[in-house]
């Protein structure tokens, strides 16, 4: 009998986009959907990123996800069981369930490209496509302005993480990239 395969949550945003002018973080509600109702275009220069409202933290039964200083959330990889509750409450669709041994993962969900993406956030994918060029397995592609890895093809070599000029693609083992 095969054991149940352990999975965990992964947040595809590193934060880093400045708040829009006139937004006061302290006055925002503690729920991302409510934030989005008040500010349909988001609160950061990047409209695709984490709102930092803490809905995911509130949803988690295991205290495996924490949002501090306006996010993005940090997953406790030991505690998380990949139940998917946080995935459901994130209105920005930033959280995905992955296999924990797939250590190379993109950490940006911006749909902006090029200069717009660069202007919006210091940690954004600028769709330069270097990752596509250096990937030996043709496993990573820019789709809708952000890198997407095909887990069936990826061999987790980390070449994309090492070559990414923006540090968007991360190594959760902390070897190819250091957080």
């Amino acid at each position: 009998m095969a054991k149940r395969i352990r999975k965990i949550s992964y947040v595809r945003c590193r934060g880093g986009s400045p708040l829009l002018e006139g937004i006061d973080r302290a006055s925002l509600p503690g729920n991302c959907s409510e934030i989005l109702q008040l500010f349909p275009n988001g609160i950061n220069k990047c409209r695709y990123g984490c709102l930092g409202g803490g809905s995911c933290e509130a949803a988690c039964h295991l205290a495996a996800i924490r949002v501090e200083d306006g996010g993005p959330p940090v997953i406790d990889r030991e505690k998380c069981v990949g139940c998917g509750l946080c995935v459901r409450v994130c209105p920005q669709n930033l959280i995905e369930i992955i296999l924990p041994d797939r250590n190379i993962q993109p950490k940006c969900s911006s749909r902006d490209t090029g200069k717009a993406a660069r202007d919006a956030c210091g940690n954004s994918c600028i769709t330069c496509r270097i990752c596509e060029k250096v990937c030996p397995a043709e496993a990573i592609h820019i789709e809708d302005g952000r890198p997407v890895i095909d887990p069936a093809e990826c061999i987790c070599c980390g070449m994309c993480a090492v070559k990414c000029p923006r540090g968007v693609i991360r190594d959760s083992n902390g070897i190819m990239t250091v957080d």
Binding site: N103, P136, E138, I155, C156, I175, T177
Partner: protein
Amino acid sequence: MTDTAEEVRTISYTLTVNGIERTVEDNKPLLRYLRDDLKLYSVKDGCSEGACGTCTIVVDGFAVKACVLTTERAAGKNIITVEGLSLREKEAFVYAFGTAGSVQCGFCIPGMVMAGKALIDRNPDPTEEDIKKAIRGNVCRCTGYKKIINGIRRAAAILRGEVEIKPISQFTGKMMPEQNEFISVVGSGYDPGRASGIANYENRGSSSQYGMGQNVFRIDVRKKVLGYGKYPDDIGPEYFVPADRPDLIMEQTGWTQEEYDAAAAEGRLEPGKTICRKDEPLCNICTIVDPDMPPMAYCSAVRSEYPRAIVKKIHKEKAESLPGVLGVLTAEDVPHNKVGHIQQDWDVMIAEGDITRMTGDAICLVVAESPYILEAAKKAVKVEYEPLEPVRNIAEAKAEGAPLIHESGNLCQQRHVVRGDAAKALAESAFTVTSSFSTPFTEHAFLEPECAVSFPYGDGVKILSTDQGAYDTRHETSIMFGWEDTPERIVVENQLIGGGFGGKEDVTTQHLSALAAVKFHRPVKMKFSRSESLRVHPKRHAMEGTFTLGCDENGILTGLDCEINFDTGAYASLCGPVLERACTHSVGPYNYHNTDIRGFGYYTNNPPAGAFRGFGVCQSQFALESLMNVLAKKVGISPWEIRYRNAIEPGLELPNGQIADVSTALKETLVAVKPYFDDAPEDRVGIACAMKNAGVGVGLPDKGRARIEVENGLVWIFTAASDIGQGCQTVFIQDVSQATGLPITKIWIGVSNTENAPNSGTTSGSRQTLVTGEAVRGAALLLKKAMDEEGVTEETLDRLNGRKFEYEYFEPTDRLGSDKPHPKSHIAYGYATNVAVLDAEGRVTDIYAAFDAGKVVNPLSMSGQIEGGVLMSMGYALTESWPLRDCVPTARYGTLGLLRSTDIPDLHAIHVEKDKLLDASYGAKGVGEITSIPAAPAIAGAYYAKDGVLRTKLPIENTFYSKKKK
């Protein structure tokens, strides 16, 4: 901005490597730092692009590819390579990998060891699934992964203290259950109980049971696992030591002053002499050179940008003016500008004014002091081209008015094989089926890219090489130098060979590095980058063929008519013999006698095609076996039944007229797989048979030669027969052990070297175990005779010191088209039946692979050959491709579709050994090539059973595996 420059210089990175803190000033790939600066040669360079896994090391506890990480990013990290494992870990992996049979060519092995170590450190008791995942980024092309997975599991058990490392003299019991590779053995003469002991070469045990049928610990395990064995790329500048530097010699060898003095007194330190490791006379450490010899240089070719273009002008002045560049050689510098394995049609370099034939063509050869200068100089060479329309495929090559790729025309080779009257037989058949088939080019994807190091030697040059025939390389290179009358001026010595599969028969780096070494009078290394390797060496031929097969109402085959068209690309390579084998084997191992087979090999501007494991037969038997299934359906019998009804038996006439010999065991292989075929759901199982010649045959002088010398009470075998990972050197030692009763502790084998070992032909055509094996046996029997006559025993071998025993084996065969009623085309044939089983989704879950290879010499090794060959065949069936865009290869190593550890089905190797065997080589027929033939049609057959769609194209379409690809 001088201050910035200074600032740059002061940046440095500190990292710990194998427990020693190191500081490095350049930011470069960690792989280059570990190999070039620290000389940690266990960290292999298989692709330098993150795809192959041969450079896997452990960084802060994680398995990481050293080519991906940089020295900058490695700063502050703790790095371990195989060299830095603890003694306990080293011994665990050597023993585990040796007893599990994990090691073949060995090039992937240090990376596998480190991936295994990282896993075991985190999870001391990993499951098979855990291990598969842990080595998913590590490609192995030899083993089919199964034995590597077993090896890592066993290493974990040893490190947990649950399995003991046993010196073999104490090891008398049966192998551990998971080690028992035989799931069934057919034939009365075989007793698996006899094949239970593992002979540990290294522990120098006292047992003499190392002969035929024993699971012998291969002789190359330790040096391959621990990474100190030398492939040519592991020869760095430090390998060449000036004769006037005793300090360097002592440093390299670890000798004391006394040992140095003794070696000097014995004349072992003259220029040209090679020194081996103290504890292992088979592992070279360094070569002594003249004191005034400059250090090793590096060369690389600028290759054509176009498959077909006129080379208008080569601007090399700028490159030549760069500091550190020795020169740029062009066709003018080559004494005779043609090489070629059989037909000399391959330009060493394309001269100004000439037309390129493929993108892999060399235009000029840049020689420089360092690899870095070399790359810069290559970029500085500007070539003016006039691009021409290329010839893309067979149809374009055949078209009227097609440009001629060679002066002789675009038809490179043709064969016509006829017996009986196929047209009449087919016309009178109850059932016939006709279909066209198309199979792709396939890349060998051996883990070790081509590399050679050459240096001036005597009045010529010595080439340290990785290839499938040292004498072939000498011959081809002698043609280039115009030294055909004095080929001995060139000495070729094989180093370890990181896989070949047919792709290392032609010269690639050897002749060019030799040219540079002679021109600049210094050692020169030439190493292919992975992309260069993919572009240059010959592939498996792409085939377009039409086959018509007929049978009577009982499914008895009546006749075959077929036309086979091969795309041989830019050069002939081995087109002639490969096409011939495709034709002669297209009939399959069946008892019918009306055949009309026409074969054509066309030049195109694609990369060349030549030898590849299976040698043309993978293509033609895929077509034939697929049509067998259609006929079975028409007749209303099972795919197993139609094969059994037609199977060849001893004494019957093969379709080529040769009488099947006593060892023929096709029916036994069919019987062996029958229970698995019957047990599987009818609509998810496929079956295919195969036959494959052993030995070159067809009237050619295919000789095996061996010499045995007794020296210091030890027996030395000398024979120039390349061990490309299949394990023939261990086979030869078993031959001698069997003939003489000596333990393998007394038997050593020299490297394949044209200076001191007799020519025993190419590692091709599954011939080394049989042809060279028989030569070794012959020489060993002469030794045995001398021992008996003079009353010499194992303990008193010293009395034969200085004696030599030579033997040449040659069994004539008949040429193709011989008018004899029963021509003997080949000295032996191997037979096989494979059964492939799918699950409901179409995933291959099991392959039952029964092979008749005559006497099973080393069961563990044979299972390894089977598992590796079968997985290669599965890749051929389902995932591997070699796409070309207007003759330009577009694939990279990581996108070839090579199956990885997580993709493998359960591979069940079945050894079929009859009680009646051939006389030569204790009845062993070899198994190397046939392993890669039947699985592909068996898998295609399973899909045919599943959905009734006849697959006529490889890789087959609409499968579980094609879904994965976008």
